[in-house]
Symmetry: C2
Subunit: 311 residues, 2 copies
């Protein structure tokens, strides 16, 4: 079995090369920003209305960006808000996007101690062992909170590696209020310490692909270039999943230090600036009510903008 | 509305006083440790078999401990392993336990930046706004990962406080591999820093109950008495949810520094040592195959053992 499983890092490298861009579109289907065509006259009052619109919108985003970007990131929170109906929709969307050739990152940010993380890993990244659970609905990677240490992370990494999947461990979140924790420390900061841990968790040879990178990646927001460059050096084999571009304010140029010197090794994520582009004059003046065309064009513009900083 | 909502800390204080113990039974229904009577002849091969046994076992635990302990903690990971079928079961169990007068803690350990945490809070602790989502199935409190800072935590705290519910923020987990992160720091340690943040997040007057405690609690494992006492001093108004007793090795006496000097302010959790007590000779020799009686007796023994350290 082992010899037919392609390492996640190699799959990412091929997909980025094929699409010519490291752009990832984040699916955060916020009900109060959906295109008017999807909103009932009375607004969203019932669960089934909300689930249906969320699913329809998310599928349209996937259709619009397939072939334009190599990957999508699906934010679990927006589905968990609808309990089991939302969770069913989340897994249906993972499968839908994978069927269209996209790499799918499940943005679940789970993390616990080992005995509990084993179960989270079963639910979110492992190849299912029970009949009735579809392997095609398991995402290609998930985001993780690694704060509870190695025993919990290991459960995800082992399950991911065994099926050619990957993980992205939170190291430096984009929200400034996260700094109060991540910049804790005197001589060195917590985010640097986490970076060192992630590098060690992903360094075993069976986790490294032919491309030289590991299936254990990291979530790293671009801050000042010096500190980002240092974080990059601390994790020379990790693929970075980079939040903060677009609606959150970072430019493509600001993301450059997240890449290795050869232009590989990072995914840049944009969510709201792409999926809610029907709200932007730049797109609505050109495409009118055709919100799907707005998304497709915004994805193309985003893909082109960040293409230049990667190779 | 506001004047009819009882603060979560007051609800905890009354429930602990009523039961005479601060014991919380954790529901971690691990398939490979379920009583033989619940396991199909062929083992668990199909999703529906696993979900059915998990649900039946968990309901039996709730029936066995209701009236013995004031609260149960339901570990979401064991339900998420079954995707939407598991999540439906989780919310059914929350409701089932609340209907039996138990305070229910949803052990979900969610945490993200503000815009995403708003949705996690909607799914896990807020009073539902969409018809079709049952408020009675929302737990009385959830565990939180506060590493992404105030903007994310605030979403949960506001939603919890508005409906008389609470949160427990991870400050010092029980697993030793978590120490590599939580004991980071030179002059002070990360767990002390987190303790200070939790105290400040929970200090606003509208979050404090008549009992003087806050609806913003903390998960604090008992380590050496000196450091636990210091953590207690850093969070004088927080209820501690204490893991580590029983299967994880801590005694009732070791948990004493987690309480305030007047014996209030902590919940002690035990999971495996109670719910899998049919595996222990002490109970199986007395009750034979009656695993429900084993659980009830183990819950009573646990409740009595920790009663002495609280008031």
């Amino acid at each position: 079995m082992a010899d037919v499983v392609e390492n996640f890092a190699d799959r990412v490298s091929s997909a980025v090369k094929r699409c010519g861009t490291p752009a990832v579109v984040g699916i955060d289907p916020q009900l109060d920003r959906l295109p008017p065509a999807l909103v009932p006259n009375t607004g969203f009052a019932k669960l089934d209305q909300a689930v249906r619109a969320t699913s329809e919108f998310s599928r349209a985003v996937i259709d619009a960006v397939a072939g334009v970007v190599p990957a999508v990131k699906i934010n679990s929170a927006f589905f968990e808000a609808f309990r089991d109906d939302g969770v069913r929709t989340y897994f249906e969307l993972v499968r839908y996007a994978r069927d269209r050739g996209l790499i799918v990152i499940g943005d679940v940010k789970r993390g616990d101690i080992g005995s509990t993380s084993r179960l989270y890993a079963e639910g979110h990244i492992a190849r299912p062992t029970l009949s009735g659970l579809d392997d095609a609905a398991v995402p290609d990677a998930v985001t993780l909170a690694g704060y509870l240490g190695e025993s919990g992370v290991r459960q995800f990494v082992d399950a991911a590696a065994a099926s050619g999947r990957g993980v992205f461990v939170l190291v430096r979140p984009s929200d400034p209020t996260a700094d109060v924790v991540h910049e804790f420390g005197e001589k060195s900061k917590l985010y640097e310490h986490l970076a060192g841990l992630v590098a060690s968790w992903g360094s075993a040879s069976h986790l490294i692909g032919k491309c030289g990178l590991s299936c254990v990646g990291a979530v790293v927001a671009p801050k000042d270039p010096e500190s980002t460059t240092r974080v990059r050096q601390l994790m020379p084999r990790s693929i970075f999943l980079v939040p903060g571009y677009g609606a959150q304010g970072a430019s493509a140029e600001a993301c450059r230090p997240c890449f290795l010197s050869d232009g590989r090794g990072a995914f840049i994520n944009a969510s709201r600036s792409v999926i809610f582009s029907h709200e932007a004059k730049r797109y609505s003046e050109r495409f009118g009510d055709d919100w799907k065309m707005c998304i497709r064009q915004a994805a193309k513009d985003f893909a082109a903008d960040v293409a230049g900083v990667a190779r």
